[in-house]
Amino acid sequence: MSEPSAVLALAVITAWMHPFVAVAQTATGGAAAPPPVRDLSGVWQPANALDGIQPNGARNMPADGKHEPPYTAFGLELFKRNKPSNGTTEVNPAEENDPAHACDPQGFPRENLFELRTTQIVQNPNQTIILYTYGRIYRIVWTDGRALPKDPDPRWFGYSIGRWRDDYTFVVETSGTDARTWLDNAGRPHTEDMRVEEIFHRVNRDRVELSMTIDDPKVYSKPWLALDNLPMRLVPANTDMPEMMCSPSELAEYNKRHASKGQNPSKP
């Protein structure tokens, strides 16, 4: 890239990042205080805004030609059936089959792997409740000592239980997810047998790091890391949760006005 182009690119990036940087600088202030014990409650945002969006798939396994989950033969076959509109296998909107683009719930773990934005965590003695911006979705992580259900009916967001490994590390196990959902925005597949492990590590008062491992032996020959210590920043408790919804009528309007025109044959 030439120097003027580099300067232009830097200026554009800087301008784009400005509102997020401003939020980060004013959210907490001061030196980081020690973490509270066994407490994740608060309103959180990805410390670097783009880290939560993950348009090309899981942050630590993007579909960029350099990363590839360890597919089994069956898993690769499932992946080829999925036609995403992002990543190295992206197709035109007319050809894609992303269930979330029909406004299906994107489900779990995709809720963590695409459009992860402002997220509130609420705790009571028996539950850790996670409130997400995208879709105004909530998840309940049971902490009352129950086990994951055996042979559960699949649900969009599965079934989750959590426990504190130590005073600052909360481990969540999830199973029973609906196989119609994709893992991420790049169309990575899974079966109903998938198990997902999330680790929330409270580094200090102002920061949690989220890691997530996918384990689905039918689809992947070994567990793989989708998120590796994604930093989340504590923002003021009075932060109003934004709204970001998939509306079928808005989606239809977008397709009618815009996307459908891009699918016409090229003009001479």
Binding site: E90, E250, L251, Q263
Partner: protein, 136 residues
């Protein structure tokens, strides 16, 4: 489509092909991401909605004919963070738009930048910074 529009500049920026626009639910497959065009336009409608906000506008071609376009940016939440708003455009507004055009030549695009009343607003269509670039 022949570029018979009143295009003030057509720049093939030597940027690496952008794999996606910012936050795009819908990727960049429709677009010629190596190109930018700049047009003088008159706004006809502004749709503030998910999954992507849409600006409708008219552009005069070099014969004086009016060509109707629309172009997208990201969702309302992202655009709010970039200083855009639901009421920022009204029909009749004159704007200068820098766009990523569609591959098939249809009059649609992604807004990289708009100048409205002398103020410049960043849209979408630029290559997102890699995580290491955005570290603070």
């Amino acid at each position: 489509m022949e570029r018979k529009l009143y295009i003030t500049s057509l720049i093939a920026l030597g940027l690496a092909a952008a794999p996606t626009g910012l936050f795009a639910h819908h990727g960049s497959a429709l677009y010629d991401t190596n190109k930018r065009i700049t047009v003088q336009a008159v706004v006809t409608d502004w749709l503030w909605a998910n999954p992507h906000c849409l600006l409708e506008f008219d552009v005069k071609d070099d014969k004086g004919n009016t060509v109707h376009w629309n172009a997208e940016v990201s969702n309302p939440q992202d655009m709010t963070n970039l200083g855009w708003s639901r009421k920022m455009f009204k029909p009749g507004d004159e704007v200068t738009l820098t766009l990523v055009p569609a591959k098939n030549g249809e009059p649609i695009g992604r807004i990289v930048e708009v100048i409205l009343n002398g103020k410049k607003y960043t849209g979408m269509g630029v290559r997102p910074p890699a995580p290491e670039e955005s570290k603070q």
